[in-house]
Symmetry: C2
């Protein structure tokens, strides 16, 4: 969908909310809004789309108490603010919107949490993401380097960039709103997304992208929304396999899971944010023993996190049960840069090619 | 200095260390190395260059005990590794070097701290930065957007980019090693460096860079080494004033101080990393009351940090004493995005122009 079409749709969906209230009042009904109950107990793992989703339970907010009326009033102000923002082709951060509410008298937000939560409600009601309402995330997107030509619509005009030939070594930084991004053409066979900047720079320096026709993505730890959206689009639109390369510890497995399956917190956005086809390449617990990697002992927190993953449906596969149980037995974890103990080329010449061919990617 | 000249110099300085040991041994002396004592008590604020520096106290490491001999052995391995890395035109992270030491038998590092410390020692001895030895920082550089044309030497050839016309909205990401960067030309009158991504995007969206011929730099919180080096070079090479725009709390004032004066931790690199001419634009405590900004109460931690700043020589000016004492009296702090309470244009149309003209920048 073009940016203009998204704007039109977002404007319409916001209008629908207000129109619904208007009709309720015109029909002598108390205005209300209903949306899925947002508790852990109402989140289900959807087998068919392989992502987390809200269940069937609904909560109704009806303006028959001053508390609920105030909640709807705040939502009305936000709807008005966002509609106006789209009309004026402007954008703002959640933080700015929170401060702007200072001028909304009774509808002023008490805390940032409250306005964040309300925006998530709007995402659920409209089935659109906050970026469609021109709300910018604060968090930074990741970088991309590889045989991919993109077009970005910026406020200063369109920019066409090849992500090897036209950019610096730090890569092409993903903009806040990836709806402004278009993939023009590419020579890539797959996408490899990495947790650390050190590993991203290692693959770039070793020419891994050229040798294997790979698009390198630097996740920068737990990936931002825009990064996850780009990974999904590279996978869905271009049909490229996506592999995730992280440290070998339970926190990093969660990075993989949030890319592949989405998170509980953003369950309503899983279908935009998740890449169910993403595969985990390593560091696997079995690599620690097979390659005799330098390692650290698991802490008590690590062990608890691994055990929690054993009961997490996202890790409920034979592969993960085997690897997690192996790691608990070994009592060890390793970082991705630990492959450097076998030389700076080992990871790109030996480890990754072996794993990629094992996984059927190359 | 060109990249080739830096390589040559770094190679020579590393060679000098080894040659010195060789001469000591040839002259029947026990090999040793001396360098400034690296404790808080040996750090002085240098009035003339306005940065922190090590004092006169020196510590001698002499290989007359197995502990000191082992220390010199480790340094010898690192010198050899770095010399080789320069010769092969490769680079690595501190983390990778730590893992590579796995193969150095007795000279293997016990912990990352140890190898980091040794690299800092080498920086002090050679008076060169770790980047000159092709050691990449893990931390990411910031982004630049504005009327500036740069040339970056990358491993895939030279790239010339105008930081408005040739890049996307997320800006030009500063590479790890700014020695590879050259400023070709510019139409800028000053540089404004911001703490948050939200404010960077606000100035970009509002066209502040075009209206005021400003180079926007997104610091991303506490700025990385490469960011501080770029700010210094924009100031020194292009003669551009640098102003720093952060939240109005003691932690953000430290961001300003680390840009302007350097940090105690990297005192030996202050002359490469610091921009003594950088000025603080806000959020000032007096802005909180003058503009009636939305604010939060100071926490106990905030109050302690403000009091510590009152005895920090970097804040020992009439301006800072006044502002810090005012903040302690107000008991409040404000974020830079709090200006949004007066509308999304207030910061770029009113606040910043007023402050910049007050400061004599525009």
């Amino acid at each position: 969908m073009s940016r203009e079409d998204i704007d039109k749709l977002a404007d319409q969906r916001l209008y629908d909310i207000a129109e619904n209230w208007y009709k309720q009042m015109a029909g002598a009904k108390i205005p209300s809004i209903s949306l899925p109950t947002r508790t852990k107990h109402n989140i289900e793992y959807d087998e068919s789309s392989e992502v987390w989703k809200y269940g069937e339970k609904e909560t109704m907010r009806i303006a028959n108490s001053s508390k609920s009326a105030l909640h709807l009033l705040k939502m009305a102000y936000v709807v008005g603010f966002l509609k106006n923002q789209i009309a004026e082709s402007r954008s703002s951060t959640l933080r700015e919107m929170y401060y702007i509410s200072e001028g909304w008298k009774k509808a002023k937000f008490g805390a940032q949490d409250e306005s964040n939560h309300l925006v998530e409600d709007l995402e659920i009601i409209t089935e659109l993401s906050r970026e469609a309402f021109h709300l910018r995330p604060e968090e930074d997107g990741a970088s991309v380097y590889g045989p991919l030509r993109i077009r970005e619509k910026t406020r200063r005009g369109e920019r066409v960039m090849h992500c090897q030939e036209d950019i610096g070594e730090a890569g092409y930084p993903i903009p806040n709103n990836v709806d402004n991004l278009e993939f023009i053409d590419h020579d890539a066979k797959f996408v490899i997304a990495m947790e650390t900047g050190g590993m991203y720079a290692r693959l770039m320096e070793n020419g891994f992208d050229e040798e294997h026709d790979a698009i390198l993505v630097h996740l920068k730890g737990q990936p931002a929304r825009s990064t996850r959206r780009v990974l999904r689009r590279l996978n869905q639109e271009l049909g490229l396999p996506v592999v995730i390369f992280t440290d070998g510890d339970p926190w990093s497995y969660r990075i993989f899971a949030s890319v592949a399956y989405g998170s509980i917190k953003a369950a309503h956005m899983s279908e935009i944010l998740a890449t169910p086809g993403a595969q985990f390449i390593g560091v696997q617990p079995s690599d620690i023993s097979n390659y005799n990697l330098p390692s650290d002992k698991l802490t008590e927190g690590d062990i608890a996190a691994l055990k929690a993953e054993l009961s997490d449906p996202r890790f409920d596969t034979e592969y993960w049960r085997h690897e997690i149980n192996l790691q608990l037995k070994l009592g060890l974890k390793s970082e991705q840069q630990a492959f450097a103990s076998r030389g700076l080329d080992f990871v790109t010449k030996e480890y990754l090619p072996a794993r990629l061919s094992e996984m059927g990617v190359i």
